[in-house]
């Protein structure tokens, strides 16, 4: 969507009115409004949804893992790729983390670092296959989705990691709060802040937008497409690995189903948050808000008297609505640009 396009540094500073209008028209604003409406309606029906200790905590805790995944997914989608293997990476890394605690006496920090590095490595495999074989990311990550999950499951067999095997410090960190907001949510905020800065304000990040919006033009211009593709997948894999670590901290128990199917929610969160599946536009912040919207709807459905079995149907409708909206906005923008050209 156009709103995500960077303002060139040479343009004069927009007036205050124009800036307000820009914020109001931003896609992210719409998603935030939807989020607030869901929050308001469910809270009106059941005040404890927000105004209880658990309700307040869950508001931030539930989306934190998906936020981390959605940030990674947004980076990959912006470069006009997609990473369907994130759920499998999450599961594999979570299990590897648990195994390291069970089998080795390594300090917690070292284990967590190794776990995230494992995620980066798995992401790099995806990236290398996509970048060098020039095969669509959809196909490659569909394959690695199977492979990574298969490795995890044949490694785990029928046993699973129990909370008693996980260091108490990590588990208590998973349930702790700082300033009334869960620690895991703070981690997701930090990830969000760093990724938003890198993608929005640095040269490397802007090049990813350029590559995603027109790969051929970017190549002609001399941008290092291979390197950026590798980086995007490494970031997505690393963040999926981090999500695996957060999963361990939060749940303690790791079965073979960890992260199963969450890749579709991650793609959904990004798309709903305004990251166009065509690549080249959308913001990291939007993807995170999309994750908040999804998970809050998920928690809100039972309160609205709808069985939570219907959750996936709602997610599906939201995804479709989001891409239809993108299409309409893009066409309107296109017409506007044409009109401006004709007037000039």
């Amino acid at each position: 969507m156009s709103t995500a396009a960077p303002t060139a540094p040479t343009t004069p500073k927009p007036s205050a009115g124009a800036r307000v209008r820009k914020i109001l028209q931003a896609r992210e604003t719409g998603v935030i409004m939807a989020f607030l409406v869901v929050l308001a309606v469910t809270t009106a029906i059941n005040p404890s949804f927000l105004f209880s200790k658990d309700g307040w905590r869950d508001l931030f805790l539930t989306p934190s893992i998906l936020v981390v995944l959605a940030v990674g997914q947004a980076i990959v989608i912006i470069t006009r790729n997609v990473d369907l293997s994130v759920g499998s990476i999450l599961g594999l890394v979570a299990y590897a983390t648990g195994r390291m605690f069970v089998d080795t006496g390594l300090p917690i920090v070292v284990v967590l670092l190794l776990a995230v590095l494992l995620g980066v490595g798995l992401g790099l495999i995806n990236g290398a296959l996509v970048a060098f074989a020039k095969v669509p990311a959809l196909v490659i990550t569909l394959g690695t989705l199977y492979i990574y999950r298969g490795i995890m499951m044949s490694w785990a067999g029928s046993d699973r990691i129990n909370a008693s095997d996980i260091p108490r410090d990590l588990l208590s960190f998973g349930t702790s709060s700082i300033l009334g907001i869960p620690s895991l949510a703070w981690i997701s905020f930090v990830v969000l802040g760093i990724a938003a800065y890198l993608m929005g304000r640095t040269r490397g990040g802007r090049e990813m937008y350029a590559i995603g919006s027109d790969p051929d033009a970017a190549t002609l211009y001399g941008l290092k497409k291979t390197k950026r593709t590798l980086l995007a997948f490494a970031a997505s894999g690393g963040l999926a690995g981090l999500a695996g670590v957060l999963y361990v901290a939060r749940y303690g128990t790791i079965s073979s189903g960890a992260g199963l199917g969450i890749e579709f929610e991650a793609v959904g969160a990004a798309v709903i948050g305004g990251v166009a599946i065509f690549g080249g536009s959308g913001t990291i912040f939007g993807a995170a808000v999309g994750a908040y919207l999804l998970m809050t709807i998920n928690r809100g459905l039972p309160i609205l008297g709808i069985q939570d079995f219907w959750q996936r149907a709602v997610v599906g409708l939201l995804i479709i609505a989001a891409i239809v909206l993108d299409k309409v906005l893009r066409e309107r923008q296109h017409k506007k640009l044409l009109a401006e050209r004709d007037a000039a």
Binding site: V82, K134, P136, V139, G150, A313, V314, G316, I319
Partner: protein, 375 residues
């Protein structure tokens, strides 16, 4: 995925094509193509497994292999056509589940079973038409649309039944779904499935409609200008995919005697893996049904050999994933090698091009031998 998402990219992706039909003797064209390679792999796997895996050579293995791959085989037929046009449908397994649940719920509520089956097929038509409407009329990329409807159809299926299941189907129907032809080891459902497969082969390879399908995948703009009704063709294909998926859903329900919201979970991946393994290019324009059928059977044979060799489902998942990655990366690498070899042999004006896509150095599609080069 680029070309899936961006019709406008098609020219860049496809680039210059060179036609080499005349450069190659007929026997090479007939024998050295992707379809034959997949069939050869299937025979090789079958012979090797018969020799090394205990019980694999029993006829009953074939029966179960066919019963297991039947839904994948069915859905792969229309999916091949969809992918050849350059689109994709990720929602097929969710359609299977939704049709299965509709069939089960209606029957459970006292609808005659035949009526319930017809209604389930109609649900499939609706699912496919909705996908097709969003792709062709609204003009959205099929990948995005069908990720959405994957969640939507599955969500409705799970929403309707929750964690419960309808299991009480008439024996006559379930027996037929599991039965065999007379005294043979071939499942009786293979008869209607074979008829369907033949119909699809005729449709794709022997009709003007089928030519149009290839033309759209090769160059949508050119196809449109030569009078092919691109939107109508795609809409028909999505509806066909929906109704065949629903048929697979009814079969799945009867075979396992259970209508559940989580039926066929993840089957979309197996179908797409089989189709690509069978030599269909994800960029569109190339591939043939005989190869796809071999691809489905190959995945099924490897799966059943591994199961009989006491490997777990997880190993089968790894192998399926590796097959998918190797088949796409491998053909891309082969294309690269052959283009280098040709460059060294006879320098051509386009010799500096790197090849992408599903290129083997031989015939891939019955439309003719085409070389796909990019940039």
């Amino acid at each position: 995925m680029t070309s899936l998402l961006h019709p406008s990219d098609a020219p860049a992706q496809q680039g210059t094509r060179t036609y080499r039909d005349h450069q190659r003797p007929l026997w090479q064209r007939a024998l050295l193509n992707r379809d034959v390679a997949v069939w050869a792999a299937l025979v090789a796997v079958y012979l090797y497994a018969s020799a090394t895996v205990p019980f694999f050579d029993r006829p009953i293995t074939i029966t179960y292999l066919l019963l297991d791959v039947a839904p994948i085989l069915l859905i792969a037929l229309p999916m091949t056509l969809v992918i050849i046009t350059g689109e994709i449908d990720l929602s097929v397994a969710s359609t299977v589940a939704l049709a299965s649940v509709s069939f089960g719920v209606l029957y459970d509520k006292g609808t005659p079973i035949l009526v319930a089956a017809v209604a389930a097929l109609l649900v499939g038509v609706l699912c496919g038409a909705f996908n097709g409407f969003l792709v062709t009329v609204v003009g959205l990329p099929s990948l995005a649309v069908t990720i959405g409807t994957l969640a939507l159809y599955r969500g409705v299926a799970v929403g309707l039944l929750g964690t419960t299941a309808v299991t009480d189907f008439p024996d006559a129907w379930t027996d037929w779904a599991r039965g065999r032809i007379g005294e043979s080891d071939i499942p009786s459902i293979m008869i209607p499935f074979a008829v369907l497969a033949i119909l699809f082969i005729l449709l794709l390879h022997f009709t003007a409609f089928g030519r149009g399908v290839y033309a759209i995948g090769l160059n949508e703009g050119a196809a449109r200008f030569s009078g092919i009704r691109v939107e109508r063709t795609k809409l028909i294909l999505f509806v066909l995919t929906g109704v065949v998926s629903a048929l697979a859903g009814i079969y799945y329900t009867l075979r396992y005697g259970s209508a559940r919201g989580d039926n066929a979970n993840g089957m979309e991946l197996q179908v797409i893996a089989a189709v690509l393994l069978g030599g269909v290019s994800i960029f569109g324009g190339r591939g043939a049904l005989p190869g796809v059928i071999a691809g489905v059977l190959l995945i099924g044979a490897i799966g059943s050999a591994l199961r009989l060799a006491d490997q777990t489902a997880d190993v089968i998942n790894i192998v399926t994933g590796l097959l998918l990655v190797v088949s796409v990366v491998g053909s891309s690498a082969l294309g690269w090698v052959s283009s280098r070899r040709r460059r060294r042999g006879a320098p051509e004006p386009q010799s500096s091009t790197t090849k992408t896509g599903n290129t083997l150095p031989d015939t891939d599609s019955p439309v003719g031998e085409r070389e796909r080069e990019s940039r």
